[in-house]
């Protein structure tokens, strides 16, 4: 048995048109039908169509969006260019490589892991069934090796295939029969049944935005945010909202500012290159106090970087990219399902504080699909404070909270001009030092008085002062960190997890409390320069000894890396 930690991980690879994503999705669905949690991440080559791709599926008895350390099985429809995924699909001597001998031997990069090679004539097997395809045979083989119930697999195939359903089911059965005679990689028993969702991070963010009240979206297509927009376009239409495909990201951000000025909660989604273009107008949102939400589905940068792969390297630009002193909100979901809650919360924060909010999702969350527990919704979405009437209206009145009632166009007697120029309380442009200071104080006050409650971070462990190690992280590193901590605890090293969800405004008092009694801190992030570590150093007092575990994308952290690091720290 493979040391799968309550799960089994398999990968299916092949060149374009081989249907690996289709089969991967069916495997995910089959696992769900059998009562398991599961996660499918994907990787692909640079080609638009016809390029190699791999679906990586982890079937588990517990919810997670972390990949495991090793894959139990890698099956390939063909080996063309699949070698370039070797670092993303780690194998070891207990792994199994399955390939069609007619497609040649597996690449040396995989063989040198010590994995055993099992030749299986996938294409010839598929030919035995009229209308059968090798990817469906491979699906059956993988499901069979995990000993997923045949009924779950058949149901998954039937649900996904409108055409050729019978052939699909038969091909999958044939694959399962091939696996039956082999050693197996059995799953632990499934967890008790609960209500679950099957969703991608991008869909979750889109639904979160809709739940938050977003009814206007303007955006420019960009990998890996496009699916978020493609989810929202028809969904918005069903809710009486609109999505405008803009000519560029400069237009996107200004369109949503215009729509929000008109009273419509508004959002755009993009990735690093697009966020770079939006920065100037985000400053307008800060100064003119117009709420907008920007979801940045981060990819590898700088510049075009690796468009299809994940990295947490837009933290600096999200926090510090704006010119001038420009207080705004930055939120990061810390699980795939939390893409929903965090985005919904971001809408709430933007609307209630009349400020731009950036949501830092990433390609890993955005394009992964998973069986998750029903996402946690934001229990309270506060509508924008609007002005209804009154004499001598002051749009930027210096209120105690810093938030001042916003008049929406159409309201008689309250017309004002929203302006990027510094202004006085009435909104009239002013170059006076006193107005600048008063308005800067007001805009800073809005964020300073924010009480995020428990939403500011996920805190786990550390009850009763347990352990003196804390791991600080954010975003998609949270899953592997959580699992690494669990494994270390099983080996007697206790550590607490603090995964920050509210990155700006910083919450130094809350973190201080969360780290009470901590003597060693491990900061985990997926970028090269340690942006999160520098941010923590700048905004917080970190106790004791601080270590950094970081690397650039696209390789995700694996639980074992965290576990080993924690054991090292624990031995000190």
């Amino acid at each position: 048995m493979h040391p799968g930690h309550g799960s089994v991980s398999v990968a299916l690879a092949g060149s374009g048109g081989a249907g690996v994503m289709t089969a991967g999705n069916m495997l995910l669905e089959a696992a769900a039908q059998a009562g398991y949690y599961s996660l499918m991440t994907r990787t692909s080559g640079p080609q638009i169509r016809g390029g190699e791709a791999a679906a990586m599926v982890r079937v588990c008895s517990f919810p997670t969006d972390a990949q495991d350390d090793r894959f139990a099985v890698l099956a390939a429809i063909d080996w063309q260019n699949i070698g370039r995924f070797a670092a993303e699909i780690p194998l070891d001597s207990s792994s199994l490589l399955i390939g069609d001998p007619a497609q040649g031997d597996p690449p040396e990069l995989f063989l040198k892991s010590g994995a055993r090679y099992l030749p299986l004539p996938l294409k010839a097997l598929a030919k035995q069934i009229e209308g059968g395809w090798p990817n469906m045979v491979a699906l059956g083989v993988l499901a069979g090796l995990m000993r997923l119930p045949a009924q779950a697999v058949e149901r998954a195939v039937a649900r996904s295939m409108k055409k050729g359903r019978e052939a699909g089911i038969n091909a999958a059965r044939l694959g399962m029969a091939q696996a039956a005679a082999r050693e197996d990689f059995p799953l632990p028993p499934p967890p008790p049944k609960t209500v679950r969702w099957l969703i991608t991070g991008n869909e979750a963010a889109g639904l979160g935005a809709l739940r938050g009240g977003v009814r206007f979206v303007a955006a420019y297509p960009i990998t890996p945010a496009t699916e978020l927009l493609e989810y929202m376009a028809p969904a918005l239409a069903k809710l009486g909202g609109t999505l405008v495909q803009a000519e560029d990201e400069l237009a996107s951000i200004n369109m949503i500012l215009g729509a929000s000025y008109g009273g419509a909660p508004a959002l755009t989604a993009t990735s690093g290159p697009g966020l770079s273009l939006m920065i100037e107008a985000l400053g307008l949102g800060v100064t003119a106090e117009i709420p907008v939400v920007v979801v940045d589905v981060m990819r590898t940068g700088p510049s075009t970087g690796i468009a299809t792969k994940s990295e947490q390297a837009d933290l600096n630009i999200a926090l510090y990219g704006l010119h001038g002193d420009a207080p705004h909100v930055v939120v990061a979901p810390n699980s795939l399902a939390d893409c929903l809650g965090a985005t919904e919360w971001a809408v709430h924060l933007a609307e209630s504080l009349q400020v731009p909010a950036i949501v830092l999702s990433d390609q890993y969350f955005g394009q992964a699909r998973a069986v998750v527990d029903v996402p946690v919704f934001q229990d309270r979405v506060v509508a924008r404070l609007t002005a209804k009437n009154g004499a001598a209206y002051k749009r930027y009145a210096l209120t105690e909270s810093g938030v001042s009632p916003m008049a929406l166009p159409g309201t008689p007697g309250l017309a004002y001009t929203a302006d990027g120029l510094e202004h006085n309380e009435r909104g009239i442009p002013s170059s006076q030092a006193s107005d600048h200071l008063a308005q800067m104080d007001k805009r800073a006050r809005k964020l300073a008085q924010l009480d995020p409650g428990e939403n500011w971070a996920s805190q786990e462990g550390g009850c009763d002062g347990e352990g003196d190690i804390a791991v600080l992280t954010f975003g998609s590193c949270t899953g592997p960190v959580r699992e690494g901590i669990a494994r270390a605890r099983a080996d007697g090293v206790a550590a607490r997890l603090v995964s920050l969800r509210l990155l700006s405004p910083a919450q130094p008092e809350r973190l201080k409390q969360a780290l009470a009694g901590v003597k060693r801190v491990l900061v985990v992030e997926q970028n090269h320069s340690g942006q999160f570590l520098r941010y923590l150093r700048g905004e917080y007092d970190l106790p004791g000894e601080v270590a950094s575990l970081r690397r650039p994308g696209p390789l995700p952290f694996r639980p074992d890396e965290i576990y080993r690091r924690l054991l090292e720290l624990g031995r000190k």
Partner: protein, 279 residues
Amino acid sequence: MNPPASAALAAKDFKSDYKPIWCPGCGDYSVLSSVTKALAALGLRPENVAVVSGIGCSSRIPAYTTCYGFHGVHGRSLAAATGLKVARPDLTVLVASGDGDGYSIGGNHFLHACRRNVDLTYIVMDNHVYGMTKGQASPTTEPDWDSKLSPGGSGVREFHPLVIALASGANFVARAFSGDPNGTAAILAEAVRHPGFSFVEVLSPCVTFRPDQRAWKERAHPAPVAPTDDPARAARRIMTDDGFNIGVLYKGNRKPYRGAVPATSTVAELGRRFELQGG
């Protein structure tokens, strides 16, 4: 400050008490007058009108009106106005810009706003110069116009906004002259009434950096022909005229941008789509 809802409004009711920063003699004063006259003539109320602009002398206009204003970043007025109008189709949205803001930094948005044909009225006050930054060549500046930033002239040919607008799909194209505020007001009112994207290029002299433009008063003249709905014919006229034909030059029949439709579902229902069935 706004008069009671029942009263008929005059142009002055659309003018704020905020003193413009423009130089004495600037053509934009007249454009402001024309805008307020047109809004009064249209029988609109200031709270139902939004004036959106970017950066530059002409873009200061929103705050000089009693309408809702949006004075955004440089070059993006059309984008902001598009978002506003799509989200709030009940509002009358005017967009104010200049030759630098609209044709240079905002040039791309100009093309796509024409294509998209959202029901906006785009007023570009063209004085062939960057005034706010004190006298640099703009896209409509003559190639031999000498300036500190382009000594001896830019050597670059002028941009032809009316032809670009036509080619890109603007539904209404007109040229106005700030020296004729009543004529400009009439053109603006017609532009607002016309559905879809209406483009009004207003020749508005900069007496500070282009004193030579005082001569425009002699050069401007009414267009000798009635507007056409044939873009090819309009393009030919515009490309061959002397640049001072004043009036509505093209009125098209394209359908305006399709906005939101009534809701047919709820967020809860959309969420249920992700709930796993069976298993």
